[in-house]
Symmetry: C2
Subunit: 396 residues, 2 copies
């Protein structure tokens, strides 16, 4: 019987070393403590990041890319763990919509993740062992605070633009709310100003799948030499369904049987959609830390911009000078268009400058990561307009 | 930390005894083998069932109730395992839409389940031990074949009506397709003629959650004295989200915190929706067999009425004399109205007599089990009309 029990084992050394010493990345170390929403301080703080393109003399052409839940700093270059291309190779590069011949692109691994920025898989210098659950719970605002420290470190006062989808889009909105004077243009894609009850519910199932795995060991698996890979694979399989759409699954797989024309009358992966999902689960476990998955889903659940501003969402963007371009996808049921509309309404109520595009596609939430020419056109056009307004020369 | 690891343990004796000797139920035993779609024969076959009301002299007032995935024979009376009322108490009873003063209601536990009809938790008489995965994989058609054997046993040639929601609705459609002359009226609610790729995907995640639990022991947990309760609880939590709707979750829980006004910055159940889901998972494990969950989800995945009729759905209902009433709910995204419309179109193409109602509600798929007055009115009206056509006296 083939099921996800057959997931391969990754040596612990590999998993901790990437968190502490990320390959193919720049690393910034901060001794000054990062004050977290949880009321505690994190120190030291390490941030792993990549840059693409050149910072101009005026230091005015920086674009910050914010990663989604399972993304990383390798937005536009080969990921050393998977050996695959960058997760936003479609959008970022020479001549591409986020044009590295024109803009200086910065992509950092998010706080709480496992690819070189401090997170539960990092070594706690006070014990010499991985943090595990002793790592403080972080929020989207904490992630953005850490990114602001990185920008200070790089000597960049104002971002030309900040862009991201899903959890990355939440960071974009938080940037505009927390540091309005530091963001000229903002591109929040396929996201919301708060996580819905249904999305919290899906995240909770994923976390319970991880925590139900006896190898999770109350989060101490890196120390105890185990790996809750089956729980994490189940979590990823469930989440992956929410990234797609019923129509996309129907188009890709329908009810097609795997390598045969008839059912096997067993619990093997009879349908193609089953083996596809199993593959997604297994591949994910090879590159992601289970505790990081808990921390990042938790951060998304806690995200609620209105609650952070006296219950009035428009207050989050009061007197904002930032130019916004909000994008949603028709078949995205994780962050449906209604969420983006609510964002747009609050931006309108704040008197902010905002454009909004709903892209017709059957690709679901994942559309922001896929070949979606209409998205490319919108991002290119929005950034070109903003670049002109910002006075960025073509050859800067 | 409260998570589903804290699920209580149910003694194995309790779990196997209910499968073999169901309480508060009638039991029919068949020595004649049941030929299954998998190409094997099952013998002996045990069916646990309940009846409500009285069979009339003409034996013409029988209504068969088909259970959903996690239902049972206790449709309209106290469930001896949970101590709660019947799962369709809202619809079945004296003076209720399925009026037990008028109709003779039969509700049997479905083949493959764990409440007294043969299934993986039953004792295999050839070994004296629970079947586990040696129980043959069954289909919706097999379930209906078993029910037909029960009707033969009860001396009922023709059902006045057959009714059910979700997997129960699939059985209703299969009844009409397999035994058209034995069904006068059919009420398939919140279902489809085939399981979609997305629904197969959700089921597969649930199965993987069960099979990832080390206590599942390749399905031999009843023999080995373990219980994959954590895996099954995770499966139930994930499935439960699909039974509700985003709107219902928002209305019931929103982003309300549990017993406090602020986040705890931990992995406790901070949000009300999280503790609700955990409770659903834990309660389910107390009453359901993990292997039965695998078998019944598999049967739903395999269901494809068109495929069983040369790829042409209308052929399934060719020259059917049955009266159909198809019902869907606007917020049901597991079996959306589009699926019911497809059923109706094929019934129209077959020249069958069909009425269709889409009920406006935010309760999601679970609406068929809940207080939904419009559903009650439709079921009552449809059955009354059919009873008149059938010549059933009010006082029969």
């Amino acid at each position: 019987m083939t099921h996800i029990e057959s997931v391969g084992e990754t040596p612990i050394e590999n998993r901790t070393s990437e968190a502490d010493q990320p390959r193919d990345s720049l690393v910034a170390l901060f001794d000054a403590p990062l004050k977290l929403d949880a009321g505690v301080e994190l120190s030291p703080l390490q941030i792993a990041y990549k840059t693409y393109g050149k910072l101009n003399a005026q230091r005015s052409n920086a674009v910050l890319i914010c990663q989604a839940l399972t993304g990383d700093q390798h937005a536009a270059s080969r990921n050393p763990v998977t050996g695959k291309g960058g997760w936003w190779d479609t959008l970022i590069g020479p001549g591409k919509p986020i044009d590295t011949e024109r803009y200086f692109v910065i992509s950092s691994n998010v706080l709480g993740s496992c690819m070189g920025t401090s997170g539960p898989a990092s070594t706690d210098p006070s014990t010499g062992k991985p943090y595990g659950l002793t790592f403080p719970v972080v929020t989207i605002r904490d992630m953005v605070r850490a990114q602001a420290m990185l920008l200070d470190h790089l000597g960049i006062e104002t971002l030309f633009a900040v862009a991201g989808g899903s959890m990355g889009g939440m960071q974009v909105l938080e940037w505009a709310a927390s540091y309005p004077h530091r963001v000229f243009a903002a591109l929040p894609i396929a996201c919301a100003t708060r996580h819905s009850a249904q999305n919290i519910a899906f995240h909770e199932v994923g976390r319970q799948a991880v925590m139900a795995d006896p190898e999770w060991r109350s989060g101490r698996y890196l120390i105890e030499g185990t790996n809750p890979r089956r729980g994490l694979a189940v979590a990823r399989m469930g989440a992956h369904i929410t990234y797609l759409s019923d129509a996309a699954l129907h188009r890709k797989f329908g009810r097609k049987f795997q390598d045969r024309s008839n059912p096997t009358f067993s619990f093997d992966a009879d349908f193609e959609v089953e083996s596809y999902l199993r593959h997604q689960g297994i591949a994910f476990v090879e590159r992601f830390d289970a505790n990081s998955y808990l921390y990042l889903t938790r951060a998304m659940d806690y995200f609620d911009l209105a609650a952070d501003h006296d219950g009035i969402l428009a207050n989050a963007f009061k007197s904002s000078k930032t130019r916004f371009c909000v994008v949603s996808f028709t078949s995205d049921w994780l962050f449906p268009t209604s969420e983006s509309r609510a964002t747009v309404h609050s931006l309108n109520a704040s008197g902010a400058r905002v454009s909004f595009a709903e892209i017709v596609t059957d690709k679901g939430h994942d559309a922001f990561l896929l070949e979606e020419p209409e998205l490319f056109g919108i991002v290119r056009g929005f950034l070109e307009g903003a670049a002109t307004a910002r006075g960025l020369d073509r050859a800067s």
